[in-house]
Amino acid sequence: MIEVDVRGLSCPIPVVRAQKAMATHPKEILYVMVDSSVAREHIENLAKKGVLRQR
């Protein structure tokens, strides 16, 4: 499991970091730590897209 800590980072950097982690570790489970609901929504969207793309 890969941990990505994006707490305290302002939009859209959390998404950029998560995106990079998804690209470099395509098979791993990512554990992304966020501290704002905006970042959470953004990363949830990204995760859903990622799943769709892998299929």
Binding site: G8, S10, C11, I13, V16, S37, H42, N45
Partner: protein
């Protein structure tokens, strides 16, 4: 996908309401094609506080206080109010000055750009192109690891500063305090405004919409190119549709509108075209001649806005909303916008309906170089 649709439905509804209000605010008293403009309104506030003394643009715009207080109340109610700060405040202050200089040369923030288009001003498209290019450059920096650093939790009282400030200024407006300077010349932008209470309510409604939907006029383009996410962009499109349809329906494009509605004390007549648009570049003389370089500077000035706002994490409107949510760095950015408005007026950088300011080109050049330098220099090695 279904959750995307249900969320998108709300931002489309919010965008339609926001765009409609933005168009109607002109009929209710605000300047033409400037129903709501965060940059213009902060410049007017700077003038009312005598940070600049350009007599035509001095008024304490209540809509701004509404944005902040609406977002403050909404974020409290939805448990999203989070006092935080400490992410390179001085860099944000300077970036905000740069964004403001870009907006003052172009004549408007990205929200006004959309309203200008919805009022027939095709030169708004030049700005939009510049904005998108600026966002793309910003994305390049983001992918390179650009960051202004992490925020930390700050004491509650710190997060309350901006909302309290907004409230105090609104009270000063209502009691017509003598410390404020207001434009007196009839017909000048500063003299055109809606009733202060109406302005506050407009701001509160928009503050609620933007806080809930995350609406952002710069983030919309950023998300399209960065993550192929069209959620925010659907709000922008809805905003333009709302404003454009409203302008036609209420007769702002002439005739008596579709239903002969009379929606406000001001008659507004818009026309489609690049020139002779309200408070906008390019300036055309009586014979219709224009200096073509004005298009280049319109484009470049809005590239600065797109780049600076992307680096700061949101457009000027979004910044007022984040400040209401307790983001003190956004609060610093608002102070930077106000300072930028004062600088743009005091140093003859700002444009007006009569063309570009004497030092407008220099202002844009310096702002662009500064934003690029920050983009290159501020990066953090990822863990």
């Amino acid at each position: 996908m279904s959750s995307f649709l249900s969320k998108t439905k709300w931002i489309i509804l919010g965008g339609l309401v926001f765009g409609t209000l933005g168009a109607l605010a002109v009929n209710w008293g605000n300047p033409n094609n400037m129903g709501l403009c965060v940059a213009c309104f902060l410049r007017d506030i700077a003038g009312a506080l005598q940070l600049h003394t350009t007599a035509t643009v001095q008024y304490l715009r209540p809509e701004i206080f509404g944005f902040v207080l609406g977002s403050f109340g909404t974020s409290l109610a939805f448990r999203e109010w989070r006092p935080r700060g400490g992410s390179s405040p001085i860099i944000r202050f300077l970036l905000a000055i740069c964004v403001m200089i870009g907006a003052m040369v172009f004549l408007g923030c990205p929200i006004r750009d959309l309203l200008r288009f919805s009022g027939g001003d095709l030169s708004a498209l030049v700005g939009l192109a510049g904005l998108i290019v600026g966002v793309l450059v910003g994305i390049f920096f983001l992918k390179r690891g650009f960051t202004l650093g992490r925020t930390t939790k700050v004491p509650k009282i710190t997060g309350l500063v901006v909302p309290i400030f907004a409230l105090v200024l609104f009270v000063l407006l209502i009691i017509k305090s003598g410390v404020l300077s207001f434009t007196s010349a009839d017909g000048a932008p500063g003299s055109l405004h809606v009733n202060p209470w109406l302005g506050l309510v407009l701001g509160l409604v928009v503050g609620f919409i933007v806080q809930r939907t995350r609406f952002c006029s710069v983030g919309a383009w950023r998300d399209v190119f960065l993550t192929k996410n069209f959620y925010l962009l659907s709000g922008i499109v809805a905003f333009v549709v709302g404003a454009l349809v409203t302008n036609y329906v209420v007769g702002n494009f002439g005739a008596s509108g579709l239903f002969g509605l009379n929606v406000g004390p001001r008659d507004v007549v818009y026309h489609w075209g690049f020139t002779k648009q309200p408070i906008a570049l390019p300036y055309a003389d009586a014979d219709g001649n224009i200096l073509w370089s004005q298009y280049i500077w319109s484009f470049l000035s809005f590239s600065v806005v797109g780049l600076g706002a992307t680096l700061m994490g949101g457009c000027p409107l979004r910044t007022t909303i984040m400040a209401g949510e307790g983001d003190t760095d956004a609060g610093i950015s608002i102070l930077g916008y106000i300072a930028g408005g004062a600088i743009a007026m005091n140093f003859m950088v700002a444009s007006s309906g009569a063309g570009m300011g004497k030092y407008g080109t220099w202002g844009v050049a310096v702002a662009l170089v500064f934003c690029l330098a920050i983009g290159f220099l501020m990066r953090e090695k990822e863990a």
